[in-house]
């Protein structure tokens, strides 16, 4: 079963994402900010990271830049999932190595579509 690390400071969003992803047969792990997500990635690199932008400690963009420098850090697919919906943010994320971008609010269809795009469905 493929592993998805859900990184979001909102427990509600993590719960919603977990339910959707488990419904799509993914195993999920959770982290509430970028720093904790990096620790999780050092332990075991997930297959996909669903990543919020604005979080305390380390935001999603900073996390992505750090992740891509890590050994095997280029391997996970990174799907941003954020309320930062302006084209400038999207371009910046994709330029820094994100694979897909979900603009909140999201639903199961959108998650499915984006996971199809990255080749995981």
């Amino acid at each position: 079963m493929k592993q998805v690390l859900v990184v979001d400071d909102s427990a509600v969003i993590r719960k919603v994402a977990r339910r959707i992803l488990e419904g799509l047969n993914f195993h999920t792990l959770e982290a509430e900010d970028g720093k904790k997500a990096l620790v999780a990635c050092e332990k075991a690199m997930p297959d996909v990271i669903l990543l919020d932008w604005n979080m305390p400690e380390m935001n999603g963009f900073e996390f992505l830049c750090e992740l891509r420098k890590m050994p095997h850090g280029a391997e996970p697919k990174v799907v941003f999932c954020t309320t930062e919906n302006e084209v400038g943010y999207i371009s910046r994320a994709m330029g820094a190595g994100a694979d897909e971008y979900i603009m909140k609010p999201f639903d199961q269809q959108i998650v499915r579509s984006k996971f199809e795009e990255i080749g995981f469905l």
Binding site: N85, S91, A98, E100, M103, D107, I110, S113, K114
Partner: protein, 280 residues
């Protein structure tokens, strides 16, 4: 059955060919209530009576718009588009070297996602298509859907269904919460109102016709008739692409399956029967 609903079903069938199931009264009422309110019509019986009297042609068009299903999204079902880019387009380019022109018809384009998906693919293949002309005609029964298609403005939800982020950035411009297809793509498509039951012999011929998720709304006789009409506007070596749940079925005197993939049906006209069809 509710008498007014029975008359509405007959009206829709004769105007559009759409076979509305007898148990879909709830669907009709839920979709038509806004039209009845807007026109001061008290109930379904009165609405049907006004349409039958032909007092207001716009009323019939509004009912058609409301009752036609416009559910669609970009790159719907994926496979037909992959097949188009990987197999059909190169094959047709090899066969059309002399004219260097390919004609595509989206016969039920709804709010435009299908023709725009094709236009994106063509744009991405532009290096191979230098000095080629690729025409895209996009038609639909619903004027409301066509207006939306022409504008090419989609909500944040719509652009996230079937569309990759890289394509969103490449082919769209953001306007507040909405996204508009670039002028470059919009200008590639000719949008026209067209009823598939009308005389379509004046258009074409086309190399590829996309007529997806339309035939399933027709009863068998109308489906045969539409397939017969389509066969006359598709080039002998052209393609008809249907929806995932559709086949040419009992109209296979005009088309044969070109692929066995279960998720879609790509049907190709039999060259040997081309003259029979053309002379019929």
């Amino acid at each position: 059955m509710n008498m007014a609903f029975a008359r509405l079903r007959r009206l829709l069938a004769s105007a559009t060919g759409i076979s509305l199931d007898a148990d879909k009264l709830y669907l009709a009422e839920s979709r038509l209530v806004p039209i009845m309110r807007a026109n001061g019509v008290v109930d379904l019986a009165e609405l049907v009576r006004q349409i039958e009297k032909r007092e207001d042609e716009k009323l019939l068009q509004a009912v058609i718009d409301a009752m036609t299903t416009n559910e669609t999204f970009f790159f719907r079902d994926r496979t037909p588009f992959e097949q188009f880019r990987r197999d059909i387009l190169p094959e047709l380019m090899a066969k059309r070297q002399d004219k260097r022109r390919i004609s595509i018809w989206c016969a039920a384009c709804s709010t435009g996602q299908e023709p725009y998906s094709l236009a994106m693919l063509l744009d991405e293949e532009s290096s191979k298509l230098k000095e080629w002309t690729v025409d895209i005609l996009a038609t639909d029964l619903s004027e409301t859907a066509l207006d939306a298609a022409r504008r090419g403005i989609y909500s944040q939800f719509e652009v996230q269904r079937g569309l990759s982020t890289s394509r969103l950035l490449r082919h769209f411009e953001q306007h507040g919460d909405n996204w508009q297809v670039s002028e470059r793509l919009r200008s590639r498509i000719l949008f026209r109102h067209l009823n598939l039951l009308s005389n379509i012999g004046k258009i074409g011929p086309f190399d590829i016709v996309f007529c997806r998720n339309v035939l399933l709304y027709f009863d068998p006789a109308i489906k045969r008739d539409v397939l017969s009409r389509l066969s006359k506007v598709i080039a002998g070596d052209g393609y008809l692409i249907l929806g995932a749940a559709e086949t040419a079925g009992d109209a296979n005197q005009h088309f044969i399956a070109a692929s066995s993939d279960f998720s879609w049906r790509l049907q190709r006209r039999q060259p040997s029967l081309q003259l029979v069809a053309a002379g019929a």
